[in-house]
Point group: C2
Chain length 357, copies 2
């Protein structure tokens, strides 16, 4: 049982607790809902939530463009609007289960949510601004400001044009039919559906076209490395993952599960940044054997999670349940995800221990 393996567990430091007290996980009961209710969706806030007045807010589009823009919130809301479900996940989801780890937010498996986002597509805005032929990347700058790695900075992320000039990339101002709450980026944020959440810059202030690859702090920090300062591999799209809602009920504070013997319906959701989910498998014997779960309807968009279920004939005893998914690109969750210093992209199968009585 990975979650209570005290041979690998390392106590959480005060810095990590300072993060865990602010950042929010989705209670795994949230897997019950197709659309994650506001307040259950996961949250990571790198520094502070900035104060924001939507009546004076603007998004600047500048750099290598023919017609720089300064868009008010009224301008943005007057543009064509789309609403779509998107599964957002933190690249550090699973970090605390892959020790030793860098000091950051110590997620177990709760850093996910599937909300209905409303916004306006990015590409027509870029057409209005007129990207110049020498533009190579776009840099998105948020209003959140702080120090990381001894660098004082506004939060920024950079993308190649091929990665970001896509119809499903939004400037989003609505969440589940409401204005964005402050903690999700009010009044406006970037939303990049297939990538991990860190690149969907919140409290968006500026979009800048540049001629060189952007090597900002965050892009450099979100890399899979074997050493803190070694060469890395960029974290981009969400790796395939399934989660189950732990069955039965729990104790406090250990959250060990207890399940009544007999037929139990196991349910959960699965997603990938590489396309639709094609298969979900469940093991009820610690990974020795696997059974195919029944998949729910294929969502309209591959950016939204897909439900799954499996009837389990729970026999008395200590049981260990696992779940893993495969996407249409053929990616499957690995038994052992490769370790990296930042604790990114740990998509090893979830393990749930349960006492069946």
């Amino acid at each position: 049982m990975v979650q209570t393996d005290t041979t690998t567990w390392q106590g959480v430091t005060q810095k990590e607790l300072g993060q865990a007290a602010r950042n929010h996980g989705m209670q795994l009961e949230g897997l019950r809902y197709d659309v994650t209710p506001i307040g259950m969706h996961y949250l990571v806030i790198h520094w502070d939530i900035p104060a924001a007045d939507e009546t004076t807010w603007s998004v600047e589009v500048d750099g290598l463009v023919d017609r720089p823009l300064s868009l008010s919130m009224d301008d943005i809301r007057a543009r064509p609007a789309v609403t779509r479900p998107v599964t957002m996940e933190c690249a550090g989801n699973g970090r605390a289960l892959m020790p030793p780890r860098a000091e950051s937010q110590p997620w177990l498996l709760e850093a996910v949510g599937n909300a209905e986002w409303t916004g306006t597509p990015l590409p027509p805005i870029l057409e209005d601004a007129g990207l110049r032929p020498d533009a190579m990347e776009l840099i998105f700058t948020g209003a959140d400001h702080g120090i990381q790695g001894e660098v004082e900075q506004d939060y920024r992320w950079g993308f190649s044009l091929a990665d970001i000039v896509k119809d499903d990339v939004l400037l989003a101002y609505g969440l589940n039919g409401h204005p964005l709450p402050p903690q999700h980026g009010f009044p406006i944020r970037l939303l990049v559906p297939d990538w991990y959440g860190m690149c969907s810059v919140k409290w968006l202030r500026r979009i800048t076209a540049v001629a060189e690859p952007f090597d900002g702090f965050q892009v450099s920090a979100y890399q899979r490395r074997q050493e803190p300062d070694g060469p890395g591999e960029r974290v981009t799209r969400k790796a395939v993952r399934a989660l189950m809602m732990p069955p039965g009920f729990s104790d406090f504070p250990a959250r060990q599960r207890f399940v009544d013997a007999g037929m139990q319906e196991l349910i959960g959701r699965a997603w990938s940044g590489w396309g639709h989910i094609d298969r979900v498998e469940v093991s009820v014997d610690g990974g020795a054997t696997w059974s195919d779960a029944e998949l729910g309807p294929k969502p309209e968009s591959p950016s939204s999670w897909r439900s799954w279920s499996l009837d389990w004939d729970a026999r008395p005893g200590e049981r260990e349940l696992l779940v893993r998914a495969t996407d249409e690109a053929g990616n499957t969750q690995p038994t052992d995800a490769p370790w990296n210093y930042g604790g990114f992209m740990n998509n090893m199968p979830q393990r749930v221990s349960a006492v069946v009585r």
Copy 2:
């Protein structure tokens, strides 16, 4: 600086992290808002969030009553409705700053929020049911179920009639103008404005009038004890507390503060379960001297927090800021709150270290 005193700090255990990953703190930037946005309000969920269908939900009123009631959500919403702001706080707020501690949710100082709750007052419901003369206490039972201290139980809290038959006690079904989200007790919960949050039973299913004092597990657990199983003192009303929004900006992941030299407005909120806030004092020199903050308007109800502000002439150097409040009953935050095993009611003044540059 209490928050980084490594001589008293104890690493967070895996059980505590399992709690911290599910329970949500209010980022202290939330002190900026008079009404806490949904998703910023603190949350403690003892076991799991139960599934709930409001069309079949009922609240039973039974026990020592002449006319037992079974109230549907339509019945409850047809009754007179009131909306009022209430500051809710966890009794364990500050627990991680008062070691050694019992294994539970390791709060720093974020377990608070001030929402606009909508519901119907409790006393007329009890009149309709007809409390019998021998009724002495009311037991409130939620739909959340689990094991704690080796006792399998539904979540329950008991009150004397004098404590609970009050006009400001609500059966609440709305939060900030919306239906309760699942994590706050959908479709209905108890709301006891002046007490700590643990007694405002969520997912309310039953109100039972009994002739004996209720000695249920939770009432017994929420006691201030010097030994795990020793005699205790019940945790009831919120102790007086002020919090400040940490000024300037932070680093990641330590959340050390950095402030520009010059005039800075310090802001925050203060509350008490014993009446209105009468005074807020701030120290900018580690507690050596204190200045009175300016209080915001007295809220209509003493159950809602009160804003405060102070202009601070920030001089370069390392500074330690403290804040403490006094309520109209004369209660003041103590320099050293008495330790107890459960880590309850630690209302020592908040300390914020800042580097002024």
